[in-house]
Symmetry: D3
Subunit: 127 residues, 6 copies
């Protein structure tokens, strides 16, 4: 994964979601609304919910979903340790078949933390 | 589910785990140790981890695992609202195929909260 | 499966769905509404959609869902041959792991067709 | 997806299937024959069966299979609305984990309808 | 599991398979034939193939299939140690979600070995 | 797949595993140790265990895992016939949804046998 790949991954996701949500089939929009709402702060914080979505994505072995929930978890303030503990629950629940996705998750996590650090550094330089 | 069934479910689990852990095949014991450790308080609280295990169990559609993680979550202090939000993440991630397990989860949750209330009432009576 | 078991299965489903839909967590209701709507006649007939739901339920190996979609398919006019062709697609796509669910599907199908015949006979007697 | 990619996808599939069917292990040939036969017109039309195969492929999250069944469905006369209703059943049954495959399905569907239109236009020009 | 339950499990399986194989839908018979043939001695011994079927059944979490392949493996001469090593591969590949099926597998294995011992004892008494 | 791709696949696997095993989260190391140990010769030979891991990987549809277990099986002496019988068990258990992974498995198998032959030829030339 490179930074460019992160922005590309985010862009493709947005582009295709647009296509689906503008298809005229309105029940997709309702499903996507329910999906988004499931992770909004309620009795549980948004960060916890994103980490839950991450664990579910890992045991179901969906890299696109793993990318998305790591991205969102970090945005909601998840630390490296919290992510590694979440990865571990997924590994233990889902078994060695999860390992290729654990490799992907590490790759993505490191890129996203690097990106965040760079963005922060750039912001501070400008100040 | 009746209270008796809860104690039976817990008892069968213990009995069979004993059998596995005393089989002489030591790698089972190591796996079970890793499994238990994954839910111990670390960077994330035990309650959060149990709820993660619950969501993973629901999307993978394993009733025994659902029972166990609801039981443990409630023990770790999870509220009805927190459980319902966790169920909802599993429902949205896993789809309508999760609904039979959502029915089971509601059944178990209500029994376990009733049991907890009764135990508390009995404790207070004795005091 | 006995006729009684069919009515019990239907009754338990209704009872627990009531519980979920009256839990106060309104996003369950929205999900269930989307779920129901997915099988309503549109460009494709309701019978076709129920048979699609059946094939999906068989490859995902969910007996409760199999029961429901066979019940609904027969209500929408599916014949024994149409059901057997649908079962076969599920068997070929999902493999021998689907066989226990194929056994269940045959059991349920026969009971439901018997039930339908009896109901029809009773209706004609009364006339 | 580009038109070229469609022909490449079709070509790779054919090439590798040849390899398997010429491997000398005859039970592969029998399995493939059963697989093909499952979608042939019987009590249910071929289009319906292809759409069933599509829904099964989406809930089991297999892009190669999704490609194949969309390709075949369109060949058998499925419309955009029929495909979108089929996608929606898969989305509701399988949950948000299906969304990356819904994105893929939209991508493939649009390409295949464009391709069909172009082929038709070229045929008419020649007349 | 009791011995009676073992004979019941075997009997129900036979009865329902008869129903499917006599349904008049001949492609079921072809699928079942391929299924049986996959485990016949070839380059690999029958015992090895049954243990492979067992591992596949455990990671796919199908108790009926687990029962069948343990039953067949023991018939083909698999020992307790060979079964436990096979269970362990399934546990490691499939993760803790396999544990309820590991409990079931232990239960079934012990019953089947007891049954085999009793049958042998009865045979020797008669001689 | 080209020979280079085989070495790349092996290299990426090693590189990312290093990252995980040096992350400081020690339970990953324990899980990986259990994973490796599951395939070591015991009551069952290493080759048999690798073929079991292969069948499990195919029915769970994980290409990275399929690559690894074919690579290891061939190293442990598995023949083309033994591999094809193992693929067939996976195909029958897991159904047509496994076919894209069967195509991948054939591709990988042929490359790995070619590679082995070349390595042997080079060794003999040098002598």
């Amino acid at each position: 994964m490179k930074n460019k790949s992160i922005s590309e991954t985010r862009a493709y996701r947005l582009e295709m979601n647009e296509k689906i949500l503008n298809s005229g089939f309105r029940d997709y929009n309702k499903f996507f609304a329910l999906d988004n709402k499931a992770y909004v702060k309620g009795a549980l914080p948004a960060k916890t919910k994103e980490l839950m979505g991450l664990v579910a994505s890992m045991v179901l072995r969906c890299n696109d979903c793993i990318f998305y929930h790591i991205d969102r978890s970090i945005y909601e303030g998840a630390t490296r340790d919290e992510l590694m503990e979440s990865f571990n629950i997924a590994l233990v629940v889902g078994g060695s078949i999860v390992i290729p996705h654990l490799r992907y998750a590490f790759d993505v996590m490191d890129e996203l933390f690097d990106l965040k650090k760079n963005e922060k550094a750039q912001t501070e330089e400008k100040e």
